[in-house]
């Protein structure tokens, strides 16, 4: 008798090592190429630092250094003044994939999956073999800890190479140092650009950055006010998918379906819970753990057919019009700034807020497409601009009334920097790489409304500016023309040139009514032109030489 096939197969079934996992998913994690890897490593470390500082209510001051070591190898160090990490947790946080605190909560934060920084550590290990170096201190009274860590790629467990107490001048905070294979280039998708944009969306943070060219860039904070701390909320029934529902039912401590619905979800009271159960054809006293798949499908249907009030939106903390404008003002030099924060709205049971800011004029090029800066939960999005909901919203907005040129189906052109920011408990992206915001109609609608409001303000500025410059231009035209007209008229009439020029200058100064409105003049010229066109059209031919 031969062995059952299942036993044969079982021999092949084993844990996939994290190294393998990384290799297969590196594009999802932001390590597609060497240039992007550099950005991703910096981004993961900076995101963590900002989140930690805000949670601890400390005004962030982050120091980033990138040193080129030759052969496409770079040493990256990121140091913050956050709360630090307790000794016990250091190895797990930095050297174990999928370990984190944020994945289980519904709360507005930069990171989500607990994969970012450990993936960076793994990338360093796989490309240069060097361990991650970590410094951490939680208070002046406690000692500073120094670790050198590897990841055991078979077991997905931290491998501690060095663990010691050291002297560190920092009172509290974390520093991480990684050696990686990378490629440094300037441009829109560079670390430089990422940090500059981070400074715009995080005006409460000071960022000090030394790039591989040994240029130090300091982005000082524009505000001493920490953003309000976002509150944690329970999921809203509309935002929960089948898989998550199954997991929730399995893990809950509630003993009936009724109490499961009222306790694990927001906006579900006893009445609503009963209605859901009625519509789903389920008993309110069923045990959650005993629900089978067909039941759960019915439950989802019941939720869909029940009117449930939208989730509360006070869990969202937008940047705010005032601070967003300040942030933009300090990093983009322009003539006109404005910012719009919309009221919260909800997509799929998930609350979100859209904010838009713009900076117009200055030295920005007038004939190129406007520069778009996109943010999700204050994190700059540098890739996949074309696929982003923000791009679609901009294209669908008519910018011509606001003084920009725009051809059908494209981004407008003009000396403009446009900021679109999505803040949400769970920002939705088009893919796991978190590079482009998904096209939910609710999100696009809010973006367009915010763009239109900012556009209107821009339009009134541009038009006012145009009026003033038209007036000046008119006066200067006459000032330049008068000597010429005086000269020609003098040759023609024999009257003194100076006398004529003097008389006309006086007229220009005293009698502004001679300077007819530009509009009127324009009208006459237009009519002239129309006449001419009509003439050519009718004649159909050129005649007379």
């Amino acid at each position: 008798m031969t062995k059952p096939i299942a036993e044969e197969l079982a021999k092949k079934q084993k844990d996939i090592s994290v190294a393998e996992f990384f290799e297969r998913n590196r594009h999802l994690l932001g390590f597609d190429n060497k240039r992007k890897a550099l950005l991703t490593v910096v981004k993961e470390a900076v995101d963590n630092s900002l989140d930690a500082c805000e949670e601890a209510k400390v005004l962030p001051e982050i120091n980033i250094q990138i040193v080129e070591m030759g052969n496409d190898r770079y040493r990256i160090s990121v140091e913050d003044n956050g709360p630090g990490i307790v000794k016990k947790q250091i190895p797990n946080i930095f050297a174990k994939l999928l370990y984190g605190s944020k994945f289980h909560t519904m709360k507005q934060a930069r990171g989500q999956q607990g994969i970012g920084i450990s993936a960076a550590v793994l990338y360093a290990q796989l490309t240069t073999g060097r361990p991650a170096k970590i410094w951490s201190r939680i208070s002046p009274k406690d000692p500073a800890h120094y670790y050198e860590l590897h990841i055991d790629t078979i077991k997905n467990e931290p491998e501690i190479i060095k663990d010691e107490e050291i002297n560190w001048k920092k009172e509290h905070g974390v520093k991480i140092e990684l050696d990686i294979d990378a490629n440094y280039q300037k441009g829109d998708q560079s670390v430089d650009s990422y940090l500059k944009q981070t400074a715009i969306a995080n005006p409460h943070a000071t960022i000090i950055y030394t790039n591989p060219k040994a240029e130090q860039l300091i982005f000082p904070r524009a505000s001493d006010k920490l953003p309000k701390e976002p509150t944690e909320i329970k999921p809203h029934p509309y935002g929960v998918e089948l898989g998550i529902m199954l997991k929730m039912l399995k893990n809950t401590e509630c003993r009936t379906l009724q109490s499961f619905l009222t306790q694990e979800f927001s906006r579900v009271g006893p009445g609503t819970a009963k209605e859901i159960c009625d519509k789903a054809g389920l008993f309110t006293n069923m045990k959650p753990a005993e629900l089978q798949l067909p039941h759960v499908e019915k439950l989802m249907e019941g939720i869909k057919n029940t009117k449930i009030i939208a989730p509360s939106t006070d869990c969202i903390v937008p940047i705010g019009e005032d601070l967003l404008e300040k942030g933009l003002r300090k990093e983009v030099s322009a003539e006109f700034y404005t910012a719009v924060t919309r009221s919260p709205d909800v997509y799929k049971g998930i609350p979100f807020v859209i904010e838009v800011a713009l900076a117009y004029g200055g030295t920005q090029p007038a004939d190129e497409p406007v520069r778009l800066l996109r943010f999700a939960n204050r994190v700059p999005l540098l890739y996949q601009q074309g696929a982003c909901a923000s791009t679609k919203s901009i294209i669908q907005t008519n910018w011509r009334p606001y003084g920009l040129s725009q051809s059908q189906g494209s981004i407008p052109a003009g000396p403009l920097t446009l900021v679109i920011s999505l803040v949400s408990v769970w920002p939705s992206f088009t893919s796991e790489a978190k590079e482009a915001i998904a096209h939910y109609p609710e999100i696009i609608k809010e973006m367009k409304l915010a763009l239109q409001e900012a556009g209107r303000r821009l339009g009134s500025y541009v038009n006012k500016k145009r009026r003033v410059s038209d007036q000046q231009e008119r006066v200067s035209i006459f000032e330049n023309y008068i000597p010429e007209v005086a000269d020609a008229l003098s040759r023609l009439s024999g009257v003194g040139k100076e006398k004529l020029a003097e008389a006309m200058k006086k007229m220009l100064e005293k009698n502004k009514e001679y300077i007819q409105a530009h509009k009127e003049a324009h009208k006459v010229e237009k009519k002239d032109k129309k006449d001419k066109e009509e003439q050519v059209k009718l004649a159909g031919f050129e005649d007379d030489e």
């Binding site: 023609l492 300077i515 530009h518 006449d531 031919f541």
Partner: protein, 360 residues
């Protein structure tokens, strides 16, 4: 036209404007509008006439100031020419006034059409023709025949000018006719056809004058034709392509053009007749195989011609237009060469004139 001397008329324009300025009034020129909206067809004289509509050109109007300056500059340039008694071309005038205004990037004129327009403005403002302002167009025409003229003291015999013929100057006002021995004048739009007729000594055999230009009829040629028609009572026959262009050349010669409506009196030829090529010629002289298909733009022009007021009630012309529309084709004069190099000289023209086969 005024009886005053051109120089004085121009100076007067300047003095009037200077007077306004010195009495603290904004300088304004009232320029008659040279556009379709101000042109009418006068049935009595059978010419296009400029109406009374005027455009106020105010220097202190941002939309007018440049054109105002251009017109003044042209006037000043013309005054200088008149003072020294020299003539110059339209192109020269463009260069005479072209320069950049100090402190700006603005050129007084950027293209010759701008100075040309300013010259036409000056014409309608003063009632003087361009030639009276000592500004000439390029000469572009040839003539041959048994005619002797005097030009600037030189005596010229149009029958002894070699293969090129006499080249018609742009200003023919001063020319005196000493001897004119001809029964009629044929004017043609193609220089190549003129050369054919000249080589065949057509003017000698048929006792006529042959005249041509290349394409558009210049003012000098129109004026010369008018003088031959008025002073020597010669019939004028137009030989042009069977296409909307050819018809239009005839139309401008006979009735005037919108641009020059202000000088219709000295330009139009109410006696001009269209000799060919006509739709009937195509049948009669077997030109069918040399037809060229009409393009869409030709069709459009044809429709415009059909609606011209002076053609509207003309049955003969409407018939030609209709026939061209049905044929959907045009024919060049050169199509006649298909019947033999000198077919035009030996057969076509003598026969047409003998049979009085023309359209009026």
């Amino acid at each position: 036209m005024t009886n005053k001397k051109p120089k004085e008329t121009i100076e007067e324009l300047g003095k009037d404007l200077a007077k306004e300025v010195l009495s603290n009034k904004p300088p304004i020129m009232d320029v008659p509008i040279r556009a379709l909206s101000n042109v009418t067809f006068d049935r009595k004289t059978q010419t296009l006439q400029l109406g009374n509509k005027k455009l106020e050109r105010n220097f202190f109007n941002a939309g007018h100031s440049k054109r105002f300056l251009q017109t003044l500059e042209v006037a000043a340039a013309s005054k200088e020419l008149l003072e020294v008694g020299k003539h110059t071309s339209l192109r020269d005038v463009f260069y005479m006034i072209k320069r950049t205004i100090p402190n700006t990037k603005i050129n007084i004129v950027d293209e010759q059409t701008e100075s040309d327009d300013a010259i036409e403005d000056l014409e309608v403002l003063t009632g003087l023709s361009r030639e009276q302002l000592n500004i000439n167009a390029n000469k572009m025409g040839s003539v041959a025949g048994h005619v002797i003229v005097e030009d600037k003291g030189d005596e010229l015999d149009w029958s002894k000018m070699g293969s090129g013929g006499w080249s018609i100057p742009s200003n023919v006002e001063e020319i005196k006719f000493k001897k004119v021995k001809a029964k009629y004048v044929i004017y043609m739009e193609k220089a190549a056809i003129w050369e054919r007729l000249h080589e065949d000594k057509f003017w000698d055999k048929q006792n006529c004058i042959i005249m041509s230009s290349q394409g558009q009829t210049t003012r000098g040629i129109r004026r010369l034709l008018q003088r031959l028609s008025q002073e020597h009572k010669l019939p004028i026959y137009v030989l042009a392509d069977f296409d909307p262009w050819g018809f239009y050349i005839y139309s401008v010669l006979k009735y005037g053009s919108i641009n020059l409506a202000h000088m219709s009196e000295s330009m139009t030829l109410s006696t001009a007749r269209f000799l060919g090529i006509t739709a009937d010629d195509i049948e009669a002289y077997g030109l069918k195989k040399n037809l060229i298909a009409l393009k869409e733009v030709d069709m459009k022009r044809l429709e415009q011609l059909q609606n011209y007021e002076w053609f509207k009630d003309n049955k003969n012309w409407q018939r030609q237009f209709k026939l061209m529309k049905t044929l959907k084709a045009k024919a060049e004069i050169q199509a006649l060469s298909g019947r033999g190099i000198s077919f035009i000289t030996d057969k076509y023209l003598p026969e047409k004139i003998r049979k009085e086969d023309w359209i009026d």
